[in-house]
């Protein structure tokens, strides 16, 4: 049976993480599951956790009055759902809903922040890794904002 510190390393963001750091991460983690349609979190609620997705798909949604829930991004296995736990005021900015049955590792954000405070090396390592995820998603969002597929020009 795989241990939690092995499981969290399945996520791309934690690939190759030092064993000691992985154990610290696993110490704040537990397994979690959601059925299709379940809500993982809602906009404005305390962001006290993040999820390492192992199976399924999660949609990040924005409720727009008159238009309903818009899916602004989906997260697939190997990726992390949520980074609001990392930055004050630790509140979710969007809703997250399971599109398909989800198996995940839930990591307690407050617990991990505490460990990062005590061990700056762990904090720096995780900050580097989460920053890379943030940059990747920011770039992907900018490309979508460019509306590359829209319209066109010519004859």
């Amino acid at each position: 049976m795989r241990t939690l510190d092995q499981v969290v390393l399945e996520a791309r963001v934690f690939a190759g993480l030092d064993d000691t750091f992985a154990e610290q991460l696993a110490g704040c983690s537990q397994t979690a599951g959601f059925e299709a349609g379940d809500t993982l979190f809602r906009e404005g609620e305390p962001a006290d956790v993040f999820y390492v997705l192992r199976r399924g798909r999660v949609a990040l949604e924005l409720y727009v009055p008159g238009r309903g829930e818009l899916t602004i991004e989906t997260i697939d296995p190997g990726s992390v759902v949520g980074w609001s736990w990392l930055f004050p005021p630790h509140l979710w900015h969007f809703d997250a809903r399971a599109v398909a049955p989800v198996r995940a590792v839930a990591v307690d954000g407050a617990c991990l922040r505490g460990k990062c405070e005590q061990d700056p090396a762990l904090g720096y390592e995780l900050m580097q890794r989460f920053s890379a995820v943030l940059l990747e998603r920011l770039n992907a969002t900018r490309l979508r904002l460019a509306d590359l597929y829209g319209g066109g020009h010519g004859g």
Binding site: G68, P77, G78, A140, L143, D147, Y149, G150, G155
Partner: protein, 279 residues
């Protein structure tokens, strides 16, 4: 003394009349038309090639082949982005359109034999790739794993939705993403390059890519990270092709003419040229 009539080929600059056999709406601004010649046999384009389509009295535009119909008829998918394409999209069944061609290079289906193949399309870019996908499926056992990764603006902007489902049923690994979705959309929402995240390829794989240039540049970077080299990455370009035979220079990109040397190139042929903003 009887004079023999001089039989001269009309040449590549004279469009032949074709009749619109059928037309169907793909998206809000995009139509697919099927054309058959008024007389004689249809031209015989290969996957990747294009034809010059004439809306009589309006003008002429280059449009890639997007399929073949019954009896070898030509299928083209056209987005209404200007006067000529608007007219081509408007001409109803039984109307006449001029056709010149076929022109240009083809998707490398022969070179890809035995390899894993990634077909990567963005927006209208699926249209010129569709004949290549059909070619791959027609000889499915000749290739390794075959992926179709396709991104569009919204679910309603996806081309050929029924065919995408059919391809899935035929065993093609079809992965879809849109820039924005709703709850009824169960595939992915995100930029098309993210579809490569969990794709593993045996080297040397081959990639066929078509879409907006920025999308191609970004996704080709992701392909290179997965071991697909520029020499095995093929792209289809479009740059104001006009004559189709390399005479007028409208489609010049540095030392190459897209209509004559392309439109299908390897990325090591054109990647550097596309990075030069002045070209």
């Amino acid at each position: 003394m009887a004079v023999e009539p001089l039989l001269v080929s009309p040449g590549p600059m004279v469009p032949e009349p074709y009749v619109v056999r059928s037309r169907g709406r793909e998206t809000a601004d995009t139509w697919t038309i099927e054309l058959e010649p008024v007389a004689g046999e249809a031209i015989d384009p290969e996957p990747g090639q294009f034809a010059m389509l004439t809306a009589y009295g309006v003008g002429e535009v280059p449009i890639s082949l997007s399929g073949r119909g019954e009896g070898g008829s030509l299928i083209h998918t056209i987005r209404d982005v200007g006067a000529v394409t608007a007219e081509l999209c408007r001409i109803s069944r039984g109307g006449t359109i001029g056709v010149r061609g076929p022109f240009g290079t083809t998707w490398p289906l022969e070179d890809a034999r035995g390899a894993d193949v990634v077909v990567l399309a963005g927006g209208l870019g699926l249209a010129p790739l569709r004949p290549a996908v059909e070619g791959l499926l027609a000889e499915r056992d000749s290739y390794g794993r075959v992926f179709l990764l396709y991104g569009a603006r919204t679910p309603g902007d996806l081309l050929y939705p029924q065919q995408l489902e059919d391809w899935r049923a035929e065993g093609l690994d079809v992965r879809l993403t849109v820039d924005a979705g709703t709850r009824s959309w169960l595939d992915r929402v995100g930029f098309v390059s993210a579809l490569l995240d969990d794709v593993t390829l045996d080297e040397p794989a081959v990639a066929l890519v078509c879409g907006p240039e920025v999308m191609m540049r970004v996704t080709i970077g992701a392909l290179q990270q997965r071991g697909v080299p520029p020499a095995r990455t093929y792209v289809s370009l479009e740059r104001s092709m006009s004559c189709g035979i390399g005479h007028c220079g409208h489609c010049q990109l540095g030392p190459i003419l897209i209509c004559r040397d392309g439109p299908v190139f390897t990325w090591d042929e054109v990647g550097g040229l596309l990075a030069v903003r002045e070209l």
